[in-house]
């Protein structure tokens, strides 16, 4: 019996194929816009990562020693690696830097989840100083999801700066429990704390409104501006909402001004993505200019990470038709040339060198394909569920 470590998973068969095709679509979409594939090491030095992560997150790091006796953790976050790479490999003139990646991340699972290894796809845009980056990355992400057949993903937008601005005026003894309650999505605890702190009526009313500011982007922005004025975070969100609307992506957008993400390095607009039946998000991201500052770099930084396996489980491919192509005694050169013709017309072929045609048909059935191809006769046949094939 061959066991593998608890909390890890082998992705093979149909699932492996779907994950790979999702990865490919993401890479193709983002690399067409100048995002360069990025492969970070599997280990992160603890001395570099420790102070960048909040205490709750640190508890989830999986620590190991490298063969050089350096204290490390298995890669828990790709953003740190990307920022570190930018700071050490690119001069200011070469910025902004666009990166995309796919690979496993390792964090101790929070029950009821059990996997500590998760495949993630993500992209980072680092060092830009003007407008447009948030829209670019969100629009490309939504386009990728559409290409994967996920037609109604919902991007929920919030703003880390909005929450900091609202809560920052309060004493830390008040703001910390309120922020913690929002972060843990314990809204009843948030309201109980608000009642306990006996704040000024106006302040209490404003703070009490935050967890209710959720839903249609335009109407929530209008409500928020009535309550909080034209603050800088709300202006940021307005620009993003407007631009995504112009791109025809408004239907995919919701606003949640109570949205807070676990990692403290987020400083501007943040987002999470929901689709399908899962109760939790497929992933999310946002702006983390502050983290860039810690590395001595001026400018914006933003990125996102998506659970590749969760995305793959929702994806629908309507593109190439998988088929077994029976070579029927043809020479390898001729068989490959004819297979190329079928590939060019939209098939994805798996060559069968078996002598008997029936063996090739059986292989197609075993694979669950709808098609088999007779390369000698240059004909594709659809396999009927009745077991008979026809042209």
């Amino acid at each position: 019996m061959s066991r593998q470590p608890k909390g890890t998973r082998t992705l093979g068969g149909n699932e492996g194929e779907r994950v790979e095709r999702c990865r490919k679509v993401f890479f193709e979409t983002f690399s067409a816009y100048g995002y360069v594939p990025f492969f970070a090491p599997g280990l992160q030095l603890l001395e570099s990562a420790w102070d960048k992560f909040p205490p709750r997150f640190r508890k989830r790091l999986i620590t190991v020693y490298s063969p050089s006796s350096e204290a490390c953790c298995l890669r828990a976050d790709m953003t740190l690696a990307a920022v570190s790479y930018l700071s050490s490999h690119y001069s200011p003139q070469e910025r902004p830097l666009r990166l995309c990646y796919a690979g496993p991340l390792y964090r101790a699972p929070i029950p009821p989840e059990t996997d500590f290894e998760r495949m993630q796809f993500g992209a980072e845009l680092l060092g830009w100083e003007g407008e447009g980056a948030d829209v670019e990355i969100t629009a490309l992400l939504l386009r990728s999801l559409r290409q994967l057949g996920i037609h109604s993903p919902v991007v929920v937008l919030g703003h880390a700066g909005f929450l900091r601005e609202c809560l920052g005026k309060l004493d830390r003894s008040v703001s910390i429990p309120l922020m913690q309650a929002l972060l843990e999505r314990r809204y009843e605890a948030y309201f109980a704390s608000l009642a306990d702190f006996h704040l000024q009526k106006e302040m209490e009313t404003r703070l009490a409104s935050i967890p209710r500011l959720r839903g249609n982007a335009a109407s929530i922005l209008a409500k928020a501006k009535d309550l909080f004025g034209e603050t800088s975070p709300l202006k940021d969100l307005s620009l993003i909402v407007e631009a995504l609307g112009e791109l025809g992506l408004g239907e995919n957008l919701r606003l949640d001004l109570a949205l807070a993400r676990e990692l403290e390095y987020y400083s501007g607009p943040v987002f999470e993505i929901f689709s399908g039946n899962a109760g939790v998000s497929l992933g999310g991201g946002g702006r983390y200019d502050g983290l860039l500052e810690q590395y001595g770099i001026v400018g914006q930084a933003l990125g996102f990470g998506l659970d590749l396996r969760a995305v793959a489980s929702l994806s629908r491919f309507e593109g190439s038709m998988p088929a077994v192509a029976w070579c029927g005694g043809l020479s390898p050169r001729v068989a490959l040339e004819r297979a190329d013709d079928f590939i060019a017309s939209g098939y994805r072929v798996e060559l069968s060198w078996q002598e008997k045609r029936e063996a090739a048909i059986q292989l197609a059935r075993t694979r669950g394909y709808d098609w088999w191809i007779d390369l000698a006769g240059c004909t594709a046949y659809r396999l009927e569920t009745t077991g008979k094939e026809r042209d």
Binding site: E188, R254, N277, G279
Partner: protein, 220 residues
């Protein structure tokens, strides 16, 4: 159609009362017989063991649920706690016989290595780990109170309502760990995708608690 998960057992009656106060239809729920899935008007009710309720919400099977704060903590499920109904009130406590309780009054070294019986291993582990106390846990699924009496453990971490079961087993409360009550929760996805409907329901919580003149924690 909204899917609402409810805990079976003692707390189900209170959960149904909460639903009635919110004008959510409960006729078929009350006449369910042995059915675990009941559908009425725009709602589908799932009846699950209390400890499983947050898990159904976490994985998106249920949009909303009424779940005890003890099981929300114990399962670690990622969900949104919207309203404290104030129902099903009890406490999670550390309890033990008098001689063990006295040891907790002294230095941590006096309680190192104790054996603790509980059906809440995660909560118990967090409680002792936060205090730097190393203990041994025995995970039981019920009748926790008899464990110290029979020598299976030195003390217990369990929920207590009136304290009469503790008293009957010669146990007393050593420390309060957390208050417990029935909470109205939703999945993180449903919070975003079905917010209008959820907001309507939690608006009714405010109305019903005002009607009752109670202060069960403000509804969102």
């Amino acid at each position: 159609m909204f899917t609402l998960c409810l805990p079976t057992g003692r707390v189900l009656d209170e959960a149904v009362e909460v639903l009635q106060e919110l004008d959510i239809p409960t006729t078929k729920l009350k006449e369910r017989g042995r059915s675990l899935v009941v559908q009425e008007e725009g709602f589908r009710f799932l009846l699950a063991k209390p400890m499983d309720v947050p898990v159904y919400v976490h994985y998106g099977i249920a949009d909303m649920a009424l779940a005890g704060s003890d099981v929300i903590w114990e399962t670690g499920a990622s969900l949104v706690e919207l309203v404290d109904t104030g129902r099903g009130s009890c406490r999670i406590v550390l309890a033990g016989p008098r001689k063990i309780a006295n040891r907790f009054l002294g230095h941590e070294s006096q309680v190192m290595g104790l054996r603790v019986a509980t059906k809440y291993p995660r909560i118990a582990e967090e409680y002792f780990a936060d205090r730097g106390i190393q203990v041994e846990f025995v995970h039981l699924h019920g009748s926790i109170e008899m464990a110290p009496r029979l020598g299976l453990s030195d003390c217990i971490v369990d929920i207590v309502q009136t304290g009469s079961t503790l008293k009957a087993n010669a146990l007393s409360v050593i420390a309060e760990i957390a208050p417990v009550s029935l909470k109205f929760v939703s999945s993180r996805k449903s919070l975003q995708l079905a917010w209008d409907a959820i907001e309507e329901i939690i608006g009714k919580f405010s109305t019903s608690s005002k009607k009752a003149g109670e202060k069960n924690g403000e509804a969102i």
